[in-house]
């Protein structure tokens, strides 16, 4: 095959996201992996490569531990970690192996078990009470900077990212950000795989506990447990499989991973926009898909303030028009381009390593017409986006097979 041939999703599955005190990480990864293999009508013995994405056990040999439950076939295993883009990176790792001609079929699984982890991103643990100041680190600091020189914890970082958008554009404020959360919680009521399935009024969203203004509790994603998996197959191999498998296969029309290019101030407050725009533009270019062609989008709504910015970054609305777009209902499931019909990270949940695979599961399931109550009618093409701070951004565009 040439590397211009498309790669396909043959099978996909995810666990319900939530909290699983009675299961371990490998139980979750195995459930999603076996689900994806069964869905694709294939077995571990047919896999040429395995990529396992997990952030908090990145040095824990998750892929090999999974093999020890599902099948030790001797294939190459890649254990990957890439912040919140960990799952998307696992998918890309298998994609690259297939594109390089080293594999015909591969399994990518993302998994995380976080429990009630609390807020992420504090710069360091509290120092002991007994201390004499000493300069440490690249800033030569003598005390912790978190809370003294602003905040770098996730709710506040993404609040500031949203407020920066409000600074640069009209028609964006607390209410527009809150509408994002209202929408995603409402969407999640139709998704049996979501961690939370409860609708809230706009007033309830805005009057819930403030975490980092303008993000209230209901505008912040939860921590949790879960896993998602995809089986990818080369174009050449797919065409040797039975018709039914070909018909249900979903084409990966674009798969892009970017990091953040240097922009003014990006080492002070992360720039979550430029790398997202770069990834989206490359994905539209590679696939020939126009944003207006999209039937659904699953994007990285770790906080409500983030989702609003990404309407603009992913070219779903007019430049600068994200506030107006949500005011007119553009991203609702019956709107112009449905965004996060799964409930998004805000309500479906965000077990970090699983997230970038779960959004492919969601888009693929709609494209196959198998999404049940939450099905977007006649979905043919969709986009999945994740971003992890540091930063890393994954964008995939999926299309109906036509085979």
């Amino acid at each position: 095959m040439s590397n211009q041939d498309p790669v396909w999703i043959l099978g996909t599955s995810m666990t319900k996201f939530g909290r699983y005190a009675d299961k371990d990480l490998i139980d979750l990864a195995a459930e999603a992996s076996l689900g994806a293999l069964d869905d694709g009508g294939v077995t571990m013995a047919e896999m040429d490569v395995l990529a396992a994405g997990c952030l908090y056990e990145a040095n824990g040999g998750v892929g090999q531990r999974l093999q020890k439950q599902l099948g030790q076939t001797g294939i190459p295993v890649y254990n990957v970690a890439n912040a919140c883009a960990t799952g998307a990176t696992a998918v890309r790792t298998v994609m690259m192996a297939i594109k390089a001609g080293e594999a015909q079929m591969g399994l990518a699984v993302g998994v995380e078990q976080m429990g009630k982890m609390g807020m992420l991103g504090a710069d360091r643990a509290a120092r002991s009470d007994k201390q004499v100041f000493q300069r440490k680190g690249r800033f030569g600091s003598v005390v912790g900077v978190e809370g003294r020189l602003g905040t770098n914890m996730m709710p506040g970082v993404f609040a500031q990212a949203g407020m920066e958008y409000a600074y640069e554009n009209d028609g964006v404020g607390f209410e527009q950000f809150a509408k994002v959360a209202q929408k995603n919680h409402e969407h999640s009521t139709l998704n049996p795989l979501a961690q939370y399935r409860k609708a809230f009024t706009l007033d309830e969203v805005m009057s819930s506990e403030v975490i980092a203004y303008p993000n209230t509790l209901l505008m912040c994603c939860p921590t949790g447990d879960g896993s998602a998996a995809v089986v990818l197959v080369s174009d050449e191999k797919l065409k040797t499989l039975p018709r039914e498998q070909q018909r249900r296969a979903v084409k990966v029309s674009a798969s892009v991973l970017t990091s953040d290019p240097w922009t003014e101030g990006c080492q002070v407050q992360p720039d979550v926009n430029t790398l997202t725009r770069n990834a989206a533009d490359a994905a539209y270019e590679d696939s020939g898909v126009d944003p207006a062609d999209l039937d659904l989008v699953e994007l990285h709504d770790c906080f409500a303030t983030a989702e609003l910015r990404h309407y603009d970054n992913l070219r779903l609305c007019e430049p600068g028009g994200a506030g107006e777009w949500i005011d007119k209902g553009g991203p609702w499931r019956d709107g112009e381009i449905p965004v996060n019909v799964s409930g998004g990270l805000l309500s479906k949940g965000h077990p970090i390593g699983a997230t970038g695979v779960a959004n492919l599961f969601e888009v693929a399931t709609h494209i196959r017409g198998e999404a049940g109550d939450r099905q977007v009618p006649d979905a043919k093409v969709g986009l999945a986006h994740v971003i992890g701070l540091g930063s890393s951004c994954g964008v995939h565009i999926l299309e109906r097979s036509g085979l």
Partner: protein, 143 residues
């Protein structure tokens, strides 16, 4: 970029909490500026992330600027008093910095995007030898 009192002085010291804060009669921030492309940084550098050059100069940044983004943190990291305002400030003449907005009540009506601010310092912690760590924040210019 160290800024302690001379080491042979007797008694507790006053120390800038980060090296890019300079104390004395006229507290201000300094940054490393890439000699090739002008990108600014606050941390110790190996090379320039914007252009790859390896030579830097140290420059003084302005004490005034405008609030580009802010958040009011209510649920803070352990041991950090809340609520407080974190902000990203565009400094006059170039450079962007993150710190707290201080000397105001931390409510949405007291902070606004584009608000003019100026640098102010305060003692943020004292160690067991009586040394004081001095932090910087920004207060409304109008105050």
């Amino acid at each position: 970029m160290g800024d302690e009192t001379a080491p042979d002085e007797i008694g507790p010291k006053r120390m800038a909490m980060v090296e890019y804060l300079k104390l004395g009669d006229d507290p201000h921030l300094v940054a490393y500026v890439c000699d090739a492309c002008g990108a600014t940084y606050f941390d110790r550098r190996n090379a320039c992330a914007a252009c790859g050059a390896r030579e830097f100069s140290t420059v003084r940044l302005a004490n005034t600027g405008a609030v580009r983004a802010f958040t009011i943190v209510h649920r803070a990291a352990r041991g950090v008093p809340a609520p407080y305002v974190s902000a990203v400030v565009d400094l006059d003449g170039g450079g962007r910095v993150k710190s707290n907005i201080i000397n105001i009540e931390p409510t949405p009506s007291n902070v606004s995007l584009g608000m003019r601010v100026r640098l102010a310092t305060y003692v943020t912690a004292t160690d067991d030898d009586g040394n004081e760590a001095v932090a910087f924040g920004y207060e409304p210019e109008a105050a």
